[in-house]
């Protein structure tokens, strides 16, 4: 049991967020939590690569888009059900990450970061020119598809619970990775890749698998998100801006920690939402969010969890 004290807070945070809509019973709360949980799951996935392995992936959203497209295609064109389509989305993203990992993870530092942006843009251009995926128009889904899942209202609740489950799973996987030998290998790579290799860490394969692991969940979530939206377009699927926001969330909470991305994503999205819907700030919300982030990152560069860990050593056992 003691082994899992570090996981407790993160799991608890996700569960509490997930059940809030049950208590309020309101659809608007559910939508707000959907945005937050999606960010948590995406940021935690990214953290497995960015935080543990130390490779900055600027174009991580490519897996979200690819998963969404693959799943949407099987759902609307081939007529598969949501669950199968979701698995297809996840598997496609993982496969792409594996192939990419084999090639571009040989690059280090800034070169890798640049390559990930290139991959995202290339994928967008590719999808734009694929007629069977709808090209620039994208694909749409009939409203009646929701009837198979108990009508639109039910379907949206269902999607929400599945997403909550995925968010929980990501957090648990993130913790297990961190505590495993595999995770230690990743962190060794982060600190000094050559030294890690000398120590017996198989850097290329470890990096590839961490890339795959961090790509599976965005693939699953992509499918869920676009199923909920009812349509998919290249511009929305491969939105670089969202990718950058994810990195900010991870940095904000504390990269390389399990709780950090959960905290960072939750706070960031809640902040954005408050600004967006507040009568005072809604016209300048992006500027205010930018300034706040600047202050936080200037003064607590290791993120909230990193700062707490350093400031209060006793907390280290629970703040993993």
């Amino acid at each position: 049991m003691k082994r899992f004290t570090g996981l407790l807070l993160s799991v608890l945070a996700v569960i509490v967020l997930a059940v809030i809509p049950l208590i309020s019973g309101k659809a608007s709360t559910r939508e707000a939590m959907f945005t937050i949980l999606m960010a948590i799951a995406l940021a935690s996935s990214l953290n497995m690569l960015l935080g543990y392995t130390g490779y900055v992936s600027f174009g991580h959203i490519v897996f979200f888009g690819v998963g969404g497209y693959a799943g949407f295609y099987t759902l609307t064109v081939l007529g598969w059900n949501l669950w199968l389509s979701m698995l297809v989305g996840g598997a496609t993203a993982a496969l792409l990450a594996y192939l990419l990992g084999k090639s571009i993870l040989r690059l280090r530092g800034a070169y890798f970061a640049l390559a990930t942006i290139g991959v995202n843009e290339a994928m967008r251009a590719l999808v734009n020119n694929m007629d069977f995926l709808g090209g620039p128009i994208g694909m749409t889904m009939k409203f009646s598809v929701y009837n198979e899942y108990g009508g639109a209202a039910n379907a949206l609740w269902l999607v929400y619970w599945v997403l909550s489950g995925i968010a929980l799973l990501v957090v648990i996987v993130s913790y297990l990775v961190k505590r495993s030998k595999f995770g230690l290998g990743l962190m060794a790579i982060r600190e000094d890749e050559d030294a890690a290799e000398v120590m017996g860490v198989r850097a290329p394969s470890a990096k590839t698998w961490s890339y795959v692991l961090s790509a599976v969940f965005p693939g699953l979530i992509g499918m869920l998100f676009f199923f909920k939206n009812g349509n998919i377009e290249p511009g929305d699927a491969f939105r670089l801006h969202l990718s950058i926001e994810l990195i900010v969330m991870v940095m904000l909470g504390g990269f390389g920690t399990v709780l950090g991305p959960v905290l960072g994503a939750g706070v960031y999205q809640q902040l954005r939402k408050l600004l967006l819907t507040s009568p005072v700030f809604k016209n300048i919300q992006l500027a205010v969010a930018g300034v706040l982030l600047l202050l936080i990152i200037l003064f607590i560069p290791t993120g909230a969890v990193g700062w707490l860990r350093r400031r209060f050593p006793r907390l280290r056992r629970v703040l993993e």
Binding site: S28, A125, E191, D192, V198, L276, Q285, A287, G290, R316
Partner: protein
Amino acid sequence: MPYVGTRSTWLLLVPHKPKPTELDGNIELFCIKEGTVRRTYVWTALLLVLALVMAACGGTSGTTETTAAPNTTAAPGTTAASGTTAAPSGEMKTLKIGFTTSITGKYNTESTRQDNGLQLWMDDVNAAGGITLSDGTVLKFEAVSYDDESNKDRVQELYTKLATDDDADFLISPYSSGLTAASAVIAEQYGKVMITTGAASDSVYTQGYTGVYQVYTPSSRYLTSSVDLLGSLDPSAKKIAFVYENSNFSTGVAEAAKAYAESNGYEVVLYEGYDPDTQDFSAFINKIEASGPDAILGGGHFQDGSAFARQLYEKKIPVKFVSLLVAPPEPSFSELGDAAVGVAGPSQWEPLVKFTEDAAMAAGADWIGLTGDEFVAEYQAAYGEEPSYHAAGGYAAGLLLQYAIQKADSTDADAIKAALDATNLMTFFGDLKFDTSPDHHGLQIGHDMVVVQWQKADGGLQKQIVWPESGATAAPLYPLGQ
């Protein structure tokens, strides 16, 4: 921790010699406090924030000029509303109209104009004492709106909030087909009536919605009128080149126009899409030259369309007719000077278009609201600029809702849907009528677009309506002399 020996020996030391405060001997971020890695991260973080701030400024700075305008108009609206003294015996009810606008992001210009138009309608109807139902209830309107940032992330969240928390009675669509598609799912789910404006794509209306109604002429009919115009001008011109932007809207337009042209006996000699950020069209222009078309159709949005028109002019491509999307109807297109002369384009609405109550009577349609001239005058007084068709679309969406409520004599969603299904209306914006078949429910079938063309007049440039013939303000300039 002092730096001992080479980098790798230092790392070897870490598990054996942890900092006193370090637990478990894990290789943690903090045991390399003096390392360069952390510094790199700080710089990356700073860079990121800078990028976000710049994005924020980029979005908002564009807004300042446009959002400043409505503030000046808030006054007439409110004073007018408070000045109403009619106060009939019935109860007073304020209906909420919910929508999102793109205060930030790439749709800012169009979306702000659409919002301006809608606000103007709301001010007008409130100032006129609202809508009085037969049971004496007086209905007034108020807007609830949020920024959708021109992207889909929060559109559903915000529309759910509008439909539930804010309890909006009616919804208006965001600007653009993509955002509208996402919001329509929510509108339908909560059984709200949603009037869409600024969303031309046909695909939204093939998804089986029952409460979503389109004000704009759908994208499948955007360029077909240009084909008709070409046919009426010169039956011998048979070769068309399509060069269009690779985006949801323009590709939809080009696909439909190509099919239409081919079914009318035209030969499509070139059919090429370009990337949305394209500024250099020389590769496409070479292809156009090689294929020797009589007419060029296509374009996309303002930036690329203007660049395309200018480069066509500079390269002196010998074509007889050019019709482009979105850019030519914008007043600022005239800044191209001679390159703009003769360039035509479809427009949802133009200040010169005249629809009147008499015309409505003659056509057996209902009429509601003000005339085009009154709209232009009011809009100019309120916002200090000439209204574009986005603004007119916003106003028309409000008028349509007003009409449906009056017709249904109720605010019940089902009664209003029935009224909208049976709509046969003419406004300053043109005809409005909806497809009621289950496969295309809510698709606009009444409204027609006009074709405008820039022509030389009095030493300057003037935008003239050249199609349809019945509404033309000038004869088309044809063929383009090069």
